[in-house]
């Protein structure tokens, strides 16, 4: 857990990238983690099925905000369908290591909201597995 709070996490938490709003987003979504109250909104500008620009807003813990911030850097230029298919690994790679099961939703909230925006409907939690109700 110690090495969880790497310098760059704190940096993204205190100086989130792509934070704010787009004037006329082509797609957007927002959601919250009912277990802790973290909130994230994602807005996308889309051209030819690809993400041209992205902004996020929200409030919450360092994990949720930093992972959302890092995610916005990862997905520029990506195709919406690829985004809708992103696995949780992309987030895990971004944040580094050591996320405990309960805090997984903090880390995954940004991805969930991003996928919802890309899909145009509420995406399920990225760690959903038919026989393990995620928390």
């Amino acid at each position: 857990m110690e090495d969880f709070y790497k310098e760059y996490i704190l940096d993204h938490y205190r100086n989130p990238r792509n934070f704010g709003h787009l004037d006329a987003p082509d797609a957007s979504a927002e959601d919250l983690n009912p277990l802790c109250g973290d909130e994230i909104r994602m807005e996308l500008q889309v051209r030819d099925g690809r993400v041209l620009d992205v902004r996020f807003s929200g409030k919450g813990c360092a994990i949720s905000q930093a992972s959302a911030s890092m995610l916005t850097q990862t997905i520029k230029g990506e195709r919406l369908e690829d985004i809708a298919r992103l696995s949780k690994d992309v987030v895990l790679e971004n944040v580094g290591i050591g996320i405990s099961p309960t805090r997984m939703k903090c880390a995954m909230l940004g991805l969930k909201v991003l996928k919802s925006a890309a899909l145009g409907e509420i995406a399920s939690w990225p760690d959903d597995d038919p026989h393990t109700a995620s928390v």
């Binding site: 277990l35 309960t102 393990t132 109700a133 928390v135």
Partner: protein, 417 residues
């Protein structure tokens, strides 16, 4: 007939249950023949509770510290195990409740009040446990829907001659998989497809089937399936409701409170996702974890084996009971060994079942006497009460012999010839 002594597997099972090694106050071996009321618990289940309370007791879902993580994982793993035990497609379709009664009430309050109106009908059967009857009476009264009964014959078998007629206008069929007072196994393979054909949904009360036979809710195509942990080697205070996701999604919550909400303001509330939408307040965490351990235990034994073991005990018991037929022992319930599960109901001459149970108790034999929470069935059959012996995975033919000896004693106390 001579009882076969328990084989190695059975002896090992008996040793798994600490209570079966205890003696009664009179120094007798405990011959527990009341598992249809509640089952005994294997050591592994007791250990799971002790381990939780002594090593990682914490509230779930919200704590980020180590023991809370562990408790949450154990709780949700238990859900997955129970879901797999009845072959539910997703564990999000598995809601923890206090037991079958609460599960059935959840459906009657949530689905029932939302979907029924005057002119609709609810169909159940004449042999339901009060827990699968009174909720529908109350619901019918509240909604103006009509409550109808699939009749049973003198042996407690479902009479399906008029099923089409009975099904007309029916929105919900609610029936027990296995009857707790007669052991009748319901012909779900006939009733469920015909109910679906008229657009009705089907709730299966599995309180007596989940403990005693393999259950596959997908093969049954049950819309809801309710059961109690305490009857299937699990702790008291925990049970479950399985429901098809499409139905559960559309239903309003039942109880309101913590955990079932996503966002609350002073003005109103957004509800949480499945399964938590239906789990308001702190659940029975230890109970769920214990039920997970129980389900592991049952699957380790193999539910096919459990059913076969009980079937063979029933055959032995029926044969031995025949010996007392001429002295007034009457056995109720289906004759066909494939249509009856783990329960034998009977009466012995003019010895009232309560008196019989008290006399058997002096010999360490625990049976149940009374109406078994199926008063209307008893009234229909004209039995003021019955005695009931029920068998489970830890019973042996020697237990049946002990029951027979107890009946002999009752015969002598009551001067029966």
């Amino acid at each position: 007939m001579i009882a076969s002594p328990p084989d190695l597997k059975l002896r090992r099972i008996i040793a798994d249950f600490p209570i079966l090694a205890k003696r009664t106050r009179r120094g007798k071996r405990l011959i527990y023949l009341d598992s249809a009321a509640t089952s005994q618990k294997p050591q592994v289940v007791i250990d799971a509770l002790v381990e939780y309370y002594s090593s990682y007791n914490a509230n779930i879902h919200r704590g980020v510290y180590e023991i809370a993580e562990r408790a949450t994982t154990a709780f949700e793993d238990a859900r997955a195990k129970v879901a797999a035990f009845i072959n539910a497609p997703q564990s999000a379709e598995l809601i923890f409740t206090r037991g079958a009664t609460e599960s059935i009430n959840l459906v009657s309050h949530s689905w029932g009040l939302q979907n029924l109106k005057p002119g609709d009908a609810i169909l159940t059967t004449q042999l339901e446990h009060h827990s699968n009857l009174v909720p529908w009476q109350v619901l019918a009264e509240r909604t103006g829907a009509q409550l109808r009964y699939i009749p049973v014959d003198g042996r407690g078998e479902h009479v399906l001659d008029k099923l089409d007629e009975l099904l007309s206008g029916v929105k919900l069929v609610a029936l027990s998989h296995v009857s707790n007072s007669l052991g009748t196994i319901a012909p779900l393979e006939i009733i469920i497809p015909r109910a679906h054909a008229v657009g009705a949904i089907v709730l299966v009360d599995g309180a007596q089937s989940a403990p005693n036979m393999p259950v596959d809710v997908q093969a049954l195509d049950a819309d809801f399936f309710a059961a109690s942990g305490h009857k299937m080697c699990g702790p008291t205070g925990i049970g479950f409701l399985y429901g098809k996701r499409a139905l559960l999604e559309k239903m309003p919550p039942f109880l309101a409170g913590g955990d079932m909400i996503k966002k609350v303001t002073y003005e109103g509330t957004t509800f949480n996702e499945l399964p938590w939408k239906f789990e308001a307040g702190t659940g029975n965490v230890a109970g769920a974890i214990g039920l997970g351990a129980a389900v592991d235990y049952l699957q380790g034994l193999d539910m096919e084996w459990v059913r076969a073991h009980e079937r063979s005990l029933m055959c032995y018991a029926f044969a031995r009971f025949d010996e007392l037929a001429t002295r007034g022992l009457q056995v109720y319930g289906p004759h066909d060994r494939d249509r009856v599960a783990d329960v034998i109901s009977f009466n012995f001459s003019d010895v009232h079942p309560h008196d019989l149970a008290s006399i058997l108790d002096t010999e360490g034999v625990a049976i149940r006497a009374g109406h078994h929470c199926t008063m209307p069935l008893m009234e229909k059959m004209g039995w003021p009460a019955t005695a009931r012996a029920s068998f489970y995975l830890y019973n042996s033919e020697e237990d049946v012999d002990a029951l027979m000896d107890g009946l002999e004693k009752a015969a002598s106390v009551f001067n029966l010839r």
